[in-house]
Symmetry: C2
Subunit: 443 residues, 2 copies
């Protein structure tokens, strides 16, 4: 009888192994994809692309025992050769080829110059040929950093006593309603795709006190802008026993601090590839909604048109204000008008026209909405009534308050937007693997 006993050592090496140990003068094997071939006359450089980066292999005409004509860009190969130190090569070494085994070949030449440092093609082209454009070193680095952000989120919250949950994305028709909901048939019933895990994460606060989820959310909004997606990844947390919504903001600040440290430590290579300087997160200013509006209007001589919400341009100006005044990349805007917040938002007892809520702006764009939620059953019923809302379809949500809930609050962070602003991109599609927007359902 045969058995599986776990991961076996491969006979090929990874870059990190070649860096960690001295293989100079030794013959090794390595696999990768032929990223580019550079003919330098007597010798040629065959550059392999691996998950970890590039490896320079040296081919010497008349010496290396195979023909370079056989090797095509885009082929997956197992190369064999001797390691030599070479300061000008990536990671300080090169491999003098002694053999090559072709594992797989492309069917046609690359349609995009993915082996160039910058591809110089339109975003439209990049997205329509996504599987190819992502093979570019700079393009893929963005998504490695995105991984780091999600890792940071989870690791930080585990450390703070949060429990991860997985809640359903197909949900019953809810009372919140709205036009921005994707609808579907579910075995003869009307169902919807979840706009957020809001009700479920609140439910789970009654179980685990502190919970988080990282998953897809769906918004059928008809906005065609550089900042909207119709499906995105939401980093959500919700925490019980808070003394105020400031605790939620403090937790988000902690997450950002933790994550910047993680990125510096473990994603330095990608930060360097993209030339990114990480933002300051030690001190994040907070400002009340109406004060922020006022400050921006005064300093930049702009008329306030909508007193209940921030227009995108106002987000830009408020960010600019705090960048100029205290060199801050982030700013918490607090106490949004009750009118513009969902029914479950806790109104400010000091002035119920405002809520105990906040948005986090990062370099001119909202990346988080959060706040304290109503935890009292009667207060929730009253608020729903005052808004003319029906309790039908809300029985399960209301149940959590009937049987007791601690004071709690939480937030949702748009992962693609956070990545976008961190990398100083101008379109959220740049930092989305396979964006879904008004016109884009593929790839």
């Amino acid at each position: 009888m045969e058995f599986m006993t776990g991961v076996k050592q491969k006979n090929t090496l990874e870059i990190k192994e070649l860096i960690a140990n001295d293989y100079t003068g030794r013959k090794i094997r390595i696999h990768g994809t032929v990223h580019t071939i550079r003919d330098m006359g007597e010798i040629s450089f065959l550059i392999l692309r691996k998950s970890e980066g590039l490896v320079q292999c040296v081919y010497e005409e008349g010496v290396t025992p195979f023909s370079l004509q056989e090797i095509r860009e885009g082929a997956a190969v197992e190369a064999e050769g001797t390691v030599e130190a070479e300061d000008r090569a990536p990671n300080g070494f090169e491999i003098r080829l002694t053999g090559i085994r072709i594992l797989s070949e492309p069917f046609c030449p690359m349609p995009l110059p993915i082996n160039k440092w910058k591809m110089n093609v339109s975003l439209e082209t990049m997205l329509s040929m996504r599987s190819v454009s992502l093979r570019n070193i700079r393009e893929r680095a963005k998504f490695k950093i995105q991984e780091g952000i999600v890792r940071g989120f989870r690791d930080f919250l585990y450390g703070e006593g949060f429990t991860e949950v997985h809640t359903p994305k197909i949900t019953a028709k809810g009372a919140e309603g709205g036009s921005n909901i994707f609808k579907l048939e579910y075995f003869g019933k009307k169902a919807e795709l979840a706009q957020s895990p809001q009700f479920y994460k609140q439910t789970m606060v009654g179980v685990f006190d502190r919970v988080f989820e990282t998953g897809p959310v769906f918004r059928a909004e008809k906005h065609n802008t550089p900042r909207h997606l119709n499906e995105y990844t939401s980093l959500d947390f919700e925490m019980g026993y808070i003394d105020g919504f400031e605790e939620v903001m403090a937790m988000e600040t902690g997450f950002l601090q933790y994550t910047m440290t993680l990125l510096k430590r473990e994603y330095a290579k990608e930060l360097q590839i993209l030339g990114i300087t990480l933002p300051e997160t030690e001190r994040i200013p907070t400002v009340r909604f109406d004060e922020a509006k006022q400050k921006a209007a005064e300093k930049y001589n702009r008329k306030i048109r909508n007193p209940y919400d921030l227009e995108p341009e106002e987000e830009v100006l408020i960010s600019r204000y705090f960048k100029e005044e205290c060199d801050a990349d982030f700013v918490f805007v607090t106490h949004y008008p009750s009118k513009k917040r969902p029914f479950y938002a806790m109104d400010d007892p000091a002035d119920p026209k405002f809520t105990l809520s906040f948005d986090l702006l990062f370099r001119g764009m909202e990346i988080t909405t959060g706040g304290q939620r109503i935890h009292d059953y009667q207060m929730l019923l009253d608020k729903m009534k005052s808004r003319g809302m029906n309790t039908e379809g809300m029985e399960h949500y209301l149940m959590i308050f009937q049987y007791g809930m601690p004071p709690h609050g939480g937030l949702g962070i748009g992962l693609e937007r956070l990545t976008m602003k961190l990398l100083e991109e101008s379109n959220v599609r740049e930092t989305t693997l396979f964006p879904r927007d008004l016109g884009r359902l593929e790839p």
Copy 2:
């Protein structure tokens, strides 16, 4: 100007802090929900439920300066008292109450005996009052262990050089088709909910060599069984440069080994609450599909009815066989018939009626399907043609092979099923927070 500077120390303590330091004789504050009140005559025990477990608080009639009548089960409170060692209390300490602050009160008495060790209510009741039933200590422990499984999956794969990806769940109508797909309208186009991230994770192998995703998948199957869900969490990985599909099985074995160690180390309390003995993962037997079928048929005197697939009863018998023969809880069944595997499965060159694929059975049930995929563009076209499949709608998937893909393979693990079998539950709904099945769209 005010600033957020990160997480602040609270004036309440958590259980882990009370365990890590000696607070004996000191006055502390702690928050939690009143889990139960036990009247013992002169004293009463007020048991607080916290995310980490239970805390015993002692109320002494005529001494403790508040009235116990004011406190209701299900209330969220901040208790104040003096810590005393007490071997019979959870975690070896109790708190002699000196004060209490009610943070929030329930509106009505608990509808389920959530403070009992076992609730003894039907699964139907548990699921219809999910937000309440999950507050039971044993119920929630299942989902803490589920968290550990996902953590183990991610941490192990990070260590093996995998990159996490987030791929869209709303997809264009694909050629694979089938009746088990949820359909929806996407701005006037026909769209579907992803049955699996299969095509996307293969795409990302061309970018990062090794990738994984943990996310929801959707199956409109009309099965009403203890093992089917219409939405579940899939743990998916896909790896390039494999020498054979055995490498995928070896990686899964490594994940299981890593995760059992993690559970033992960090989830011991929950394992103890549920009385779980973890399965052996050091050696997992492998057996060919037809051999497994044959062995089970012979030993248990059962006729083979369907030569192309395993019936649920056969999965049970094959598992039983390997439990009896080599005390194995897991068994890899390999080389499934090509007929029953998707078009992208790599056929066995030695006998193309079979595929280089596998299922992992765990205690009588399939929890994983995986295998090597076709990486050659022409081979894929030929296979699609031989099945009478159209390439229309498959252009983006085919593109990844046109421009070159390394040999690769991967798998998908049903998280709820793995949790179910690990906890020796008999229905997958027991290990799903909010199950979606033929009749259940709420809560």
